[in-house]
């Protein structure tokens, strides 16, 4: 099987994109990615669109076919990928499969979501609609699951409340250097700790914002990549896994089985382990998730991730920079785009295009979480050698 390369990437401005709707956002990222990769749209054989809920948010379905026409990629095969918040990661997996299987020699993946025209309550409800009926009728939201889990984590592992604020402070600091981030503003620990309660013990700055945006990646076999560029990244490990649909049925509330399983699969495929990863993008939809993924992926022992964050281990000049892009926390979280945008950041780090966010990295990992760990995709990329 030939290795799968990433030869181009793009990301629109994330944030509140007034008067621009899902089709506008997807086309913007798609066209920019074609240009970045130097690929003609007519050479795209497969086109995947990662999107959770354009029908629910906007009443617009069929977005994958619309995009194919808008960027002049007809008659490319196209498919919309919905895996809730991990639609982007699932899109990377689908795009990788299309190339690895030999079905496509040039695959464009575009992820996007339009959300900010809805109220916070409405958006929260669209996202919470992924829950089981016995969960949904209680009014539980994804932020509520984070509050329930954070309290359990802090009490069980004797972690200080401040440790979660440190994640927010770090990711906001990183976001300042990302021109596409929704928030480019540093915050201090006190601001995070005194912000309004959203789901006790978590406060406003423990949560990512609601966001419009789109991101894209171009994938092809390595032999084809070499016809376009010398600077490309390789997807050397990728896997997806699930955990229970009903969150309270998990044996240990602090272990996300989908993170553990998809991480194992990605490590096994790449032949790498946690110690080999130079930079990572984790799904910090809530600050507590950064701890759970660090532990599930083997970067920290269970109950110990908060100590590494407190020591600066995950800062840009630390041993393992995490969320150099600013993460979902600062960059924003347009559901279907987020996993793709994680891939964009790792790709840019590996080909040396991350600008002021650049760290020394030959290998990178992204972990994209759907629901509250219900579906997870872990992807490992390496710089071409």
């Amino acid at each position: 099987m030939e290795r799968v390369a990433v030869i181009g990437a793009s990301m629109t401005q994330f944030g509140q994109r007034e008067d621009e709707w899902i089709l506008d956002l997807l086309a913007e990222a798609g066209l920019e990615c074609l240009e970045d990769a130097g690929v003609d749209a007519t050479d795209v054989e497969h086109l995947y669109v990662s999107n959770m809920a354009s029908g629910e948010f906007e009443g617009q379905t069929g977005v994958m076919n619309a995009l194919a026409q808008d960027i002049d990629a007809v008659p490319a095969y196209t498919q919309r990928i919905d895996q809730t918040s991990s639609s982007g990661g699932a899109g990377i997996y689908a795009a990788w499969q299309s190339v690895a299987s030999g079905a496509s020699e040039m695959t464009l993946l575009v992820g996007g979501e339009k959300m900010t025209h809805k109220t916070t309550g409405e958006s929260t409800d669209v996202i919470a609609s992924l829950t089981h009926p016995v969960e949904y009728k209680t009014g539980v939201t994804l932020p509520s699951f984070a509050g329930l889990t954070a309290r359990h984590y802090l009490e069980r592992f004797d972690a200080p409340r401040e440790s979660l604020a440190k994640v927010a402070v770090k990711n906001h600091e990183n976001g300042v250097d990302n021109p596409h981030a929704q928030f480019r503003k540093e915050i201090d620990e006190e601001t995070a700790l005194e912000s309004p309660i959203v789901a006790d013990p978590l406060r406003l700055y423990d949560f990512c914002p609601i966001t419009d945006g789109s991101a894209a990646l171009m994938l092809c076999p390595e032999s084809v990549a070499q016809e376009y560029t010398d600077d490309y990244a390789l997807i050397t490990g990728i896997d997806g896994a699930t955990d229970t649909h009903v969150v309270h049925e998990r044996e240990d509330p602090t272990v996300m089985g989908g993170v553990v399983e998809s991480g194992k699969g990605a490590y096994e495929m790449s032949g790498l382990g946690p110690d080999d990863i130079d930079v990572a993008e984790l799904h910090d939809m809530f600050t507590i998730l950064e701890f759970l993924q660090m532990e599930g992926l083997g970067f920290a022992e269970q109950g110990e991730a908060w100590k590494l964050v407190a020591e600066g281990y995950t800062e840009t000049d630390g041993e393992l920079p995490i969320n150099t892009s600013g993460g979902l926390k600062s960059k924003g979280h347009p559901l279907g785009a987020s996993g793709v945008a994680q891939g964009v950041e790792i790709y840019e780090q590996l080909v040396g295009e991350a600008g002021p966010r650049q760290v020394e990295a030959e290998t990178g990992l992204c972990c994209n979480v759907g629901g509250f760990g219900n579906c997870v995709i872990t992807t490992i990329m390496e710089a071409a050698r």
Binding site: S129, P133, V134, K137, G139, T141, I197, V198, P201, E249
Partner: protein
């Protein structure tokens, strides 16, 4: 009115029930958890709730022990005066949130259920 959990052939219990349990074991009987008390594992008070949901909304994950077997459930609390480890009992409520106010099709599920009352 019951808070129906399912016991599987392997002895495990889940709330809610599923067509297959752990290891593919089949359901063998239902158990009404409203006849039992449980212990609060963790809780939160949600201040930003979706349409049709009370605000604030205090929720807890609780653990029942039925014939030596543990089974967890999520539910609304009757009060925000709650601590981890509290013992609770389920109390029936006709409508936990307003059907039709949110995105879920009202006819697709039931809307009554149980809140957890500290004992």
């Amino acid at each position: 009115m019951t808070m129906e959990a399912t016991r599987y052939a392997d002895g495990s219990i889940s709330y809610p029930g599923h067509p297959r349990g752990p290891g593919g074991s089949e359901p063998v009987e239902t158990i009404d958890l409203s006849e039992y008390t449980a212990e609060v594992v963790t809780w939160t008070t949600s201040m930003a709730t979706p349409p049709g949901v009370r605000e604030p909304n205090t929720l807890a994950i609780v653990e029942f022990t039925v014939d030596g077997e543990s089974v967890r459930a999520i539910g609304q609390m009757t009060t925000d005066d709650v601590e981890t480890g509290d013992e609770i009992e389920p109390v029936h409520v006709d409508e936990l949130r307003e059907p039709g106010a949110g995105i879920r099709e009202p006819a697709s599920q039931d809307w009554d259920g149980y809140r957890f009352e500290p004992i």
